[in-house]
Symmetry: C2
Subunit: 168 residues, 2 copies
DNA sequence: CTAATCTTTCAATATATTTTGAAAATTCGA
DNA sequence: TCGAATTTTCAAAATATATTGAAAGATTAG
């Protein structure tokens, strides 16, 4: 397969993939494009390559920067901004995990805390089921929270190596 | 907090949560409702409780069944179908992981395999970056695949116990 | 300071997804 | 087998989300 075709396929699949994870197609496509680009790219480069509008490009680059996946680069002597994606996929994964944990898991755990102490007779079946469900979700959530925290801090080799030994 | 309010909040947040994970709001809400319901419920019960149409209810219940999160229950002497959610959250999580792995991770790994052998001079910077990126995504993906497989087969106590030892 | 270049915003538009509800299909008791 | 009860389907409508592009805002070279 030729590079151009492979690149197209990668960008398009990464985009489709993103939509399953609550990330919009364009954001994922820009990310994919920058991931396989050896050099930093400008907004215009990206617009042209993906055939999308200036506004759309701008918004989604910004979002990628918020997620910590892309950084602005200033090339000396150039007026334009260039954009560069983090290429170390372990770091990329940790960054995504970190953000999603902050944006989703942590608020959910807070909510579960509030919901856990519902009033009423604990012998009531409705109440008991509610409390039990909430508390088992919370237990699993806390477990995940801890595990992810360690992963976020970990070095790739240590983490994967140790993990593999344990899970064998 | 009263049970009714707590339930409302749980259902509504679980729905919002779902949308961040590529699951539609209604499907997540029905799941939440069934998770905290001690008894199996009928389609009509669900429609009424969530104020949604018959068609919508039916479609999403079926989708939950496809995901293996809800099962049909026939109560003796009753014509109607009842629906019951798996309450063991460890099993629920394993089931979700299993399905997403099959639907998303595995196809992605297949694609990466195809993309990995792009033609061309490996000294070309474009090609090298492409190949390197693809192969490091693949490496991480395979790692995840293995880990998730172990988790899917694992018993909760063994898995969490091992994790905890590992993470200390 | 000015003008050219570049970036950001956002209302309007386009697209995609979800929901409805009525009709068709199925199921099952009598 | 009939017909009432129940489930399923799916085209149309409603809603939600993403995209455009032109205008406004910001930045910097000269």
């Amino acid at each position: 397969m030729k590079l151009t075709e492979a690149k197209q396929q990668f960008i398009s699949s990464w985009g489709a993939f993103g939509t399953h994870w609550g990330i919009n197609r364009t954001m994922a496509q820009i990310h994919a494009l920058l991931l396989v680009s050896p050099e930093p790219m400008t907004q215009d480069d990206i617009m042209e390559e993906l055939n999308i509008s200036r506004g759309n490009t701008n918004m989604n680059i910004r979002e990628l920067i918020n997620w910590g996946l892309v950084e602005r680069v200033l090339l000396s002597g150039e007026r334009k901004e260039y954009f560069l994606a983090e290429k170390d996929m372990w770091k990329v994964m940790k960054q995504i995990v970190k953000e999603r944990k902050k944006r989703e898991l942590e608020p959910m755990l807070q909510l579960l805390d509030k919901l856990a102490d519902v009033e009423g007779d604990k012998r009531d079946k409705q109440i008991r089921t509610f409390v039990d469900t909430i508390s088992s979700i919370k237990k699993l959530g806390l477990q995940a929270d801890k595990t992810l925290d360690i992963m976020i801090k970990a070095d790739e080799h240590w983490f994967l190596g140790t993990m593999m030994k344990f899970l064998k």
